[in-house]
Amino acid sequence: MEPAIELPVIDIDELRRVMEEYSERGWTDGLPVMPVTESYVSGFLAQTIRDPDEVLLAMPHLDRECTVRTAAINAAMAGCRPEYFPVVLAAWSALRLEGYVERAIWQSTTGTAPMLLVNGPVRERIGLNSQGNVFGSGFRANATIGRAIRLTAINAFGLRPHELDQATQGNPAKYTACIAENEERSPWTPFHVEHGFDVQASTVTAMTMRSVVHIEARHTTVPEQLALDLADTIRRTGALIHETISACIALGPEHAELLAHHGWGKDELRRFVFEHSVNSRDALAAVGKDAVSGKTRWRLSGAHPDAVPDSAAGSDEVRVLNSEQALQIVVTGAHNSGVSAVIETFGPRGGPPAIAPVESAPA
């Protein structure tokens, strides 16, 4: 009988032998990886004019670096298609611009992950999902671009858990974390345009993140009620290690529309959330975080021998954000319910976000 569909013929024993070999060598995140060959990798390198030996990011304290070629090998192993590679390269540029990775944040007990945000026409060109289940599974470009960064961390920098990766618990985004803005359903200027890029440019923004916190607000049509739910999540005392924190509000399109309908732009939302992301001195004292260490500026109890007053000393209202710029806003997800998220980013911040352009592939 003829088979109904024609499938490629492979030697499964050979394929399994190769996959087991990669696994035994520790070249994976735990999931099977795609075996690579020189010819396969050359397809990725053909997507850029950059020299394969160009260093994308170095970790001097480990005496290790990631080159264009290493990034290509790991993108291939992660399951990327070659045409995704310019986005992976832009992700490395953005991570370098952000500056935390070179300062060993991927080895920290905090267990951060690199959250990537993609804007511009490349989303449609390579099939990046921005329209539902954005933090979830199901889309090859999102899944494999984020994974390419993790596999590089493991294979180029040797950051394996229980060894140089000292994360106490880590977080699920360490497998992969690449979202795209739903520019088409956003009532506002796209994220990259807000930060000075052309609307026809494609960009990757890097955000070292600790967690994605879910916001339920299906009940309201009042902008202030929604914004207070966001502020209440951002100010939570459990997030405080440093004196202040930073966050990216990932608004579902329905919430963005609600705000825009009442005349709120991103600036109005940012200002309101900044002003209301506040804890009382008593609330901080109740969890032993009412002062900071004179040495590290980490929060601790005012009774601790290293304690010095925080920047809000003398005031009962203590902000968790150092400025409105510590807050980024992006619109992403399906237009189907009053659901948003707060991406808790690492570090106090306050400057511009780390955005890198996606370079065009050679003609």
Binding site: Q107, G158, H162, E163, L164, Q166
Partner: protein, 68 residues
Amino acid sequence: MLERAGVPAVSICTDAFVVPARAMADVYGVPDFEFVTIPHPIASLDPTEIDANVQAVIAAVVRILTGA
């Protein structure tokens, strides 16, 4: 780093970090690097408990510093 600059130094870490400390020593090409360990944790100890930890390892610190 300090030792490479000619300054005698001792690394002290808690027992929770022995594996990464050993891995870092490998990275720096000194797999036999000697360091002192104390029980984990530190951050939640009071001054008396910290003092007790110091007393317990001071002899080892001196021994490594003086190469005795």
